[in-house]
């Protein structure tokens, strides 16, 4: 039984920063997860783009695939993953601690799992629906697709991703039928996943109310600040020390950090992550 993480990068409609984000994510996985839980597969439309990366070995498997553009490819995660059990992460995510015990728990408990809770950088549960009006208006389950666990051979996961592909391929039809109270401009992965779960009636089967995985979601308008904000980094600093421990503002982070701002991954930050990966591995 193999377990690994899966990342998607598609450069056609995504900037090249996504590749750097995925690289940082893979480095953070190598740096924090214990052996057996630290494998990373990358789905990318142009494999040659990896050549400039200093440590492309952090991607244990590279799958060249570009049939879908942008984030739409993620609905094929069940078909593309090389692992028996997978956590598909958004590229703009950093792992800060060893979460292998979560994986064991998810493996024992679920065939398919999506987190339904996210936190601010201060550790407060996010209650604002500023970016999720579609969810509230249409009573969709509050899923975050950025951390999706599934078993490849699970019939439940197969049904879920099959329906999800239909939604992504026919967004207007599904929006007209199921999202009538608030139609999103674009049906993103979060909306598609939530809608799939709702249609299949499995929304309570594929999540739990526990405090993990601890998703720290850094979109600016949901940080419980007293004023509107364009970017989180305009207001709080990101500090990664030599041991790759991350502080945001005055808060030590210990969750799955979804930082959203693609340009946050600088060469300096990559260098710190690479340095630790080298020290740990060689």
């Amino acid at each position: 039984m193999s377990f690994g993480y899966l990342l998607f990068v598609n450069t056609k409609h995504q900037s090249h920063e996504y590749l750097l984000n995925a690289y940082a994510c893979a480095l953070s996985i190598k740096n924090t997860q214990r052996e057996g839980y630290d494998k990373v597969a990358l789905v990318i439309d142009k494999e040659w783009l990896l050549e400039p990366l200093t440590n492309d070995w952090v991607f244990d498997k590279v799958i060249e695939w570009g049939e879908k553009e942008g984030w739409d490819g993620r609905s094929y995660m069940d078909k593309l993953t090389p692992w028996d059990e997978t956590v598909c992460l958004d590229a703009d995510v950093l792992l800060t601690h060893d979460f292998s015990h979560w994986i064991d728990y998810l493996s024992d408990t679920f065939e398919l799992f999506l987190p339904s809770k996210a936190y601010t950088y201060r550790g407060e549960v996010i209650t604002s629906d500023y970016y999720r009006k579609t969810f509230t208006a249409n009573k969709l389950p509050n899923f975050y697709s950025l951390f999706t666990y599934f078993k490849k051979e699970s019939p439940l996961a197969t049904d879920f991703f099959t329906l999800n592909r239909s939604i992504i391929d026919n967004p207007k039809e599904f929006a007209n039928m199921f999202l009538t109270d608030h139609k999103p401009k674009v049906i993103g992965t979060d909306e598609a996943f939530a809608l799939s779960a709702k249609i299949l009636g499995i929304d309570t089967d594929i999540t739990h109310n526990l405090n993990f995985p601890r998703i720290v979601h850094l979109k600016p308008m949901i940080q419980n600040w007293p004023w509107p904000a364009n970017k989180v980094s305009d207001h709080v600093g990101f500090y990664l020390n030599d041991n790759c421990e991350l502080k945001i503002g005055n808060y030590q982070q210990n969750g799955v950090i979804h930082y959203n701002e693609k340009t946050l991954i600088t060469k300096e930050l990559i260098s710190i992550l690479e340095h630790k990966a080298w020290k740990k591995t060689f």
Binding site: R122, Q223, P226, W227, V236, G249, N250, Y251, Q252
Partner: protein
């Protein structure tokens, strides 16, 4: 293991904190049935002798402990109902609680915190080195607090309250109070790191920052003391007894400062921000 209460009082030209401490200590003794010690300074003691409250203090207080009076550098704006004034705020000795307390376990209360029940006695046996209060509650039910009553700054950490706190004298709590002292002595630097306004030193902020540092820069699910019920300095205390207090509450829904409604509280501890009105009533009772 000995248990007791500390009340701090440093008088200034505007407010006789020693008088407030005398009253709050009497209520604390009556409801919590524990010894109360006063922490003060020599000039305050001289004034107590001059105005005739010292003898009563020696009877009521378990011990009268003196610390050096800090330089008069810290000021704040306080209302007495609708009358604003700028007053000296001598609050820089609170970190000395650790070194000066005669008790193994200590509850520290502000001199303007009136105890009308024994709820705080339920917290003595908690196995936690330092216990702070996390929440405040507006007695009037109008929730007149602002953002910076919940956080030390717009993007900063949660604000805890040093109005009441409890600690066990041990190595861990020593580190906590040394951290508070460090913040006091380097307030401007800490204010840059934690982004709070350093113009007025507040124990609430210093304790919050120390707590955050000692918890590894994270919010942790520690025990907290009960929410502090507060009346604002715009409110006026008009009557107080051993079990209850009556206020004229500034009506937040009204357009003008000075519109009031009556409000009474019984068997509930209250932090009275209008120290002048408390002092007026206490003077009559003592």
């Amino acid at each position: 293991m000995t248990k007791g209460i500390l009340v701090f009082a440093h008088n200034n030209r505007d407010i006789d904190y020693a008088k407030l401490a005398l009253y709050s200590a009497r209520l604390a003794t009556e409801h919590l049935k524990l010894p109360v010690s006063l922490v003060t300074d020599t000039s305050t003691i001289e004034w107590m002798k001059e105005c005739g409250t010292y003898d009563r203090s020696t009877e009521l207080f378990d011990k009268i402990l003196t610390v050096e009076r800090p330089a008069p550098t810290n000021y704040r704006k306080l209302n007495d109902g609708k009358e604003p004034s700028r007053v000296l705020f001598t609050n820089q000795t609170r970190h000395k609680s650790f070194e000066i307390t005669p008790y193994d376990k200590t509850l520290v209360i502000d001199a303007d915190y009136l105890i009308f029940n024994d709820n705080l006695n339920a917290y003595w046996d908690l196995e936690q080195d330092v216990i702070l209060a996390k929440n405040v509650y507006d007695l009037s039910g109008q929730d007149r607090f602002q953002y910076l009553d919940s956080y030390i700054s717009e993007t900063g950490i949660d604000l805890k309250w040093a109005t009441t706190f409890m600690f066990t004298k041990n190595e861990k709590s020593k580190i906590f109070f040394e951290t508070v002292k460090n913040i006091l002595e380097n307030n401007e630097i800490f204010s840059q790191i934690f982004r709070y306004n350093y113009m007025q030193f507040r124990n609430d902020i210093a304790f919050s920052v120390a707590n955050h540092i000692c918890n590894g820069f994270q919010e942790v699910s520690n025990y907290t003391l009960p929410a502090i019920t507060v009346t604002l300095d715009k409110d006026k205390l008009v009557d107080v007894s051993n079990e209850s207090a009556t206020f004229l509450i500034n009506d937040a829904s009204g357009s003008r400062l000075g519109d009031y409604f009556a409000c009474s509280v019984k068997n509930t501890n209250v932090h009275i921000m209008n120290k002048k009105s408390l002092e007026r009533l206490v003077s009559r009772q003592i």
